[in-house]
Amino acid sequence: MNASFELMRYDEFVEALEIIDDEDMRFEYIIDVGKKTRDDDFSNDWKTEGNLMHGCMSKVWIVDQMQKDRHFFKGFSDAIIVRGLVSMMTESFSGLTARELNTLTEEHVRKLNLGALTTQRQIGMMAMLEHMKLLSRSDRVIHVDKI
């Protein structure tokens, strides 16, 4: 957790969720994040089989757009709650180098303290983090500079 880099968006989420001390409200917060992630934020062209993250109960797509040496993720799901979670994950951990990404651990996910989330979804979020790490090392990375 002693990352030498800043995770501004992540810290905002942690803080916001810390203030909410009611499980149901934390749940609604995620729904709100999900609702705010509009369809037009995530190009339909990206909703391909290849961008699917497997093993989820609903469809989850994640893309990695690289600028210089930094990874910027975007995610989407057809289910609002999952979309909220994916958005939190992709927004939280965007802007890092591959090396920085690799220092992220379960602790980062746990610290979001999504008590309203059941363990399976926590595991789901861990899986998302792992997926993002893998993605950043794959040939699926979209190099924005080159476009």
């Binding site: 149901d24 609604e28 729904i31 109960m57 609903s58 289910a79 609002i80 059941t118």
Partner: protein, 421 residues
């Protein structure tokens, strides 16, 4: 069976002989809360809760007479063997098998079906032979046959269902031909609730000399079963859906067929003699029970069966049909809600979607309201394809559910719509 569409159905307000509130007190878990709300358990299709007598029978077995079975010459071993074999008799009586020798204990209906595919199937089926299934089979009654298709080149034929989710006897007859060797069919769809007319189907199949395996996982829970009246050749079910322990299943088979089958797994109890070069096998049912069986689970299943027998399968059926009728009425009134499975002959299972809502979102909000449903493909992907949906929410009712639970469900669906739309 009663139509779920007719609210004038005599059963609808007539579960007086069945005191559901009293029954609920037999199930400790039902008084718990989930997310601060009273639990409304509507996931009985996946697995049902256990009455105290079942848990007690398990505890009692472990604490007062547990031992391995069929092996020792000592008192506890004989006591355990008696209880284990008595469980076999209980199962035989419950589905009216001619003898307890027709009852094989497995670990689940999935294993029961795999056993048939791997023994009877591998011995008697060859390339080009056809097995008829339906479009609404659970994966447990598709994948074992698929694996046999990969191994021996048999063909699988699927009887389509109507839009209402009805099994089509005429389409079934059309699929029957000289290559048909087996019908493997569910008694009750775990998604649509549809009851398949097994008796009629068996008559037709037998008139062509084709044996029938029935997947009774859902059927056995909702109505009373008589394998001799059905005249099916195999009947499998699973204990954990019938208010019994996890880890126990049943395979019923006709005597001559069981005797013709080679063993499934090898190990203790299923053999007669073993030398380094040669092995001879025991008679059914032992031939098919290799190793230490799920002893205490069989005993617990026996307690569960006695429990439902005491309530009466007829009363349970009537009670559940009342809930089903009520649920049908109430859910039909929810705007945007579409029910899958509207057969006139169906068990108390309601699968649906709400247009504009993702089923996962819906189920997640139901969960926050304390309502346990299942969401997804329900191990019936081909059926989802058939109806062109990616998933459904399923509310499946058990003997302890009430009209009130339907009200909670409807209330929570409306709340979800408010939150998500």
């Amino acid at each position: 069976m009663s139509s779920i569409k007719t609210s004038t159905n005599p059963h609808l307000n007539n579960s007086s002989s069945f005191d559901v509130e009293r029954v609920r007190r037999d199930f400790p878990i039902l008084s718990r809360e989930v997310h601060g709300k009273p639990l409304v358990y509507l996931d009985n299709g996946a697995s049902s809760q256990k009455p105290r007598v079942v848990v007690e029978s398990v505890r009692d077995a472990y604490e007062s007479y547990y031992s391995n079975v069929h092996r020792g010459a000592h008192y506890l071993s004989q006591r355990s063997t008696d209880s284990y074999e008595e469980a076999r008799e209980t199962v035989a009586r419950f589905i009216n098998a001619p003898s307890e020798k027709n009852i094989i204990f497995t670990s689940s209906v999935t294993e029961s079906i795999n056993l048939v595919a791997a023994t009877w199937g591998k011995k008697f089926l060859k390339a080009g032979d056809e097995v008829i299934l339906s479009e609404m089979e659970h994966h447990a009654n598709i994948v074992p046959w698929h694996m046999l298709r990969e191994e021996c080149g048999i063909k699988l034929m699927f009887v389509p269902v109507t839009d209402a989710g009805d099994f089509q006897l005429n389409k079934f007859e059309q699929l029957l031909n000289a290559n048909t060797r087996l019908i493997a069919i569910t008694e009750c769809s775990n998604v649509l609730g549809t009851m398949v007319p097994i008796k009629r189907l068996v008559e037709i199949a037998h008139s062509r000399g084709v044996p029938v395996l029935v997947d009774g996982a859902q059927g056995v829970v909702h109505h009373s079963v008589d394998v001799q009246a059905l005249d099916c050749d195999f009947y499998g079910f699973t204990g954990h859906k019938l208010y019994g322990p996890s880890g126990i299943g049943v395979l019923y088979g006709k005597t001559e067929i069981l005797e013709s089958m080679p063993p499934y797994q090898g190990g203790g109890d299923m053999i007669e003699h073993v030398t380094l070069d040669h092995v001879t096998y025991n008679k059914p049912p032992y031939r098919f029970e290799a190793g230490t069986p799920p002893i205490v689970q069989a005993i617990g299943l026996s307690a569960a069966i006695k429990y439902v027998e005491r309530l009466g399968m007829e009363s349970i059926f009537n009670h559940e049909q009342d809930i089903l009728g009520y649920a049908n009425q109430q859910l039909t009134e929810v705007e945007g809600l579409q029910i899958f499975g509207t057969s006139e002959n169906k068990a108390a299972i309601m699968s649906f979607i709400v247009h504009g809502l993702h089923s996962f979102d819906l189920a997640a909000i139901l969960d926050r309201e304390g309502i346990a449903t299942r969401v997804g493909q329900h191990c019936a992907e081909p059926l989802m394809d058939r109806f062109g949906v990616e998933g459904m929410v399923r509310a499946s009712f058990g003997l302890y559910n009430r009209r009130k639970d339907v009200d909670s469900l409807v209330f929570a669906i409306e709340k979800a719509k408010g939150m998500l739309l």
